[in-house]
């Protein structure tokens, strides 16, 4: 059903866990659809220096979470925003059609974490300038 890469990331997920005092948190999904992802990022000088996740979901949900955290680490925030769900799926050697929504969820989790980071930094900028 799943590619080797999916299974590898599923069995040995990278970056599991939470980041203390993260710069951004993304929280997407809900128990109704059966997938919940939490994605944490640490940003320094506009570069994502660390990313971690916690996921409740199927094999593809876990593998895409793992892959997306790998893909963003070391990327500039602006670049990271361009990571599409297809890119995540492709990096995993493809996903069964019925599981493509997991890659969408991973993309959304990332976007949501970055949004959170951008909002926070805007706020602190505002605080500083005011």
């Amino acid at each position: 059903m799943y590619s080797e890469q999916v299974m590898e990331h599923f069995m040995n997920p990278r970056n599991v866990g939470e980041i203390e005092n993260p710069d951004g948190i993304g929280h997407v999904g809900n128990p109704v659809c059966g997938d919940i992802m939490e994605l944490y990022i640490k940003v320094e000088d506009g570069t994502i220096v660390d990313a971690k996740f916690k996921t409740f979901g199927c094999g593809a949900a876990i593998a895409t979470s793992s892959m997306v955290t790998e893909l963003v680490k070391g990327k500039r925030v602006a670049e990271a925003l361009k990571i599409s769900n297809r890119a995540v799926a492709e990096a995993l050697g493809g996903l069964p059609p019925i599981k493509m929504h997991c890659s969408v969820l991973a993309e959304e989790a990332l976007k949501s974490a970055i949004d959170d980071y951008l909002n926070k930094s805007k706020r602190s900028e505002n605080e500083r300038t005011s």
Partner: protein, 391 residues
């Protein structure tokens, strides 16, 4: 990967064909291959074999052999029973009573009819998945032509009060169909004791081959064909008889009749060991379905904070085959509608795990599941955002 003994605990999805059954089928593939409708010896030999099988199946469920019609499986038997009585009794009414925990084969067939002028009442079930016979009684109207309630649920193993519903149906003069696909061969099923007019079974759930089933049709039941064509099965089911598979179903029925009691006892002991072991070893786990009035081979639990497929995949990598809800629905994204109908939350429905035991299942297999599962669940829970650290 290291070669481990693979442990198959998904007998509710399908069973391996018994070697004795395979043995019985083989001659009918290549040697006695005639078409039972042919009057020459090749055909007549095949015909006798099919009739002998019919006797064995009738014996297993306490029916007369003319009341058994072979089909291409359980799904066809359900389609046949429901569409066949619906169309044949349209003059009398258009109301069908069923439950929200039926297998897709019954549920989708009812939905199809609903789109074509029939009305369908779906009864409530309690948190164990039990139907209340009094609810059946209350749902009957003067338009009711069919009641369809499954014998034992394929996901949670709960055994329904079929005999009680049968009495109500009989009193009201309404046809009663039961999908006994998960029950036949596993627990005693006798059509007269149950008071059913139609009963569906499928060979591959009782160590027979895939692609063959049977519908019991009580003498006098008014229904039309589902499969139109030739005059096979006394004009009730068209299509060249699948003789090897029919012979296989016959042999499987014979073996089941012989071994059912002892095997059920053995499985109940293993089942209860596995249930207790899982409850003991895994915090925040819950048994789904009735604790005792359940199929001897069914264990269904919900594990909080983790999702079913990820448990399945991990178990599979350990060589253990299980299921989360019905096998059919595992390719869809919906959580089990059976568990939802029983009132479980989406989270618990997504976190369900079914082990269904079988003839090859040993004490060692159970021990291994009990050793492996807590480890897998702990690993997944460590990843779960639903479990706050320290819970």
């Amino acid at each position: 990967m290291v070669a481990k003994k693979r442990i198959y605990l998904d007998h509710a999805a399908t069973t391996p064909t018994d070697p004795e059954v395979v043995e019985a089928m083989l001659p009918y593939l290549s040697d006695v291959f005639g078409n039972p409708s042919s009057i020459h010896s090749f055909g007549q030999e095949a015909k006798s074999a099919a009739e002998e099988a019919r006797d064995k199946i009738a014996a297993l469920i306490g029916a007369r052999c003319e009341e058994i019609v072979f089909t291409g499986g359980g799904t066809e038997a359900d389609n046949f029973a429901i569409k066949g009585t619906a169309y044949a009794n349209e003059g009398k009414g258009n109301h069908i009573i069923t439950t929200p925990i039926e297998h897709h084969a019954v549920m989708e067939t009812c939905k199809f009819l609903q789109g074509r002028g029939f009305e369908v009442t779906s009864l409530p079930v309690d948190r164990y998945g039990l139907v209340d016979p009094q609810d059946v009684k209350k749902a009957i109207t003067d338009k009711t032509i069919l009641i369809s309630v499954m014998h034992a649920n394929n996901e949670v193993g709960t055994i329904e009060p079929i005999a009680e519903i049968g009495e109500i149906a009989r009193e009201a003069g309404i046809y009663f169909h039961t999908d006994a696909v998960q029950a036949v061969g596993h627990i005693p099923v006798k059509v007269d004791e149950l008071g059913v007019d139609m009963l569906a079974m499928s060979a591959h759930k009782l160590y027979g081959p895939k692609g063959v089933g049977a519908l019991y049709i009580r003498k006098g039941t008014k229904l039309i064909s589902f499969m139109h064509g030739g005059e096979q099965e006394r004009r009730r089911r068209a299509g060249t008889e699948n003789v090897p598979a029919i012979v296989g179903l016959g042999k499987a029925s014979e073996i089941a009749q012989r071994e059912m009691d002892a095997e059920a006892k053995r499985l109940i002991s293993l089942r209860d060991k596995l249930i207790e072991g899982l409850m003991e070893r895994i915090e925040h786990s819950h048994l789904n379905g009735l604790p005792t009035r359940r199929l001897p081979n069914n264990i269904n639990v919900s594990i909080e904070f983790v999702e079913g497929e990820s448990m399945l995949l991990n178990l599979d990598l350990e060589g253990i085959a299980a299921s989360t809800g019905s096998a059919c629905s595992s390719s869809s994204l919906e959580p089990s509608y059976v568990l939802l109908a029983m009132g479980l939350s989406h989270e618990l429905a997504h976190g369900s795990l079914r082990f269904s035991l079988g003839r090859e299942t040993t004490e060692e297999d159970i021990a291994r599941v009990l050793e492996v599962s807590p480890r897998i669940i702990a690993k997944l829970r460590a990843m779960s955002p639903m479990l706050q650290s320290g819970t």
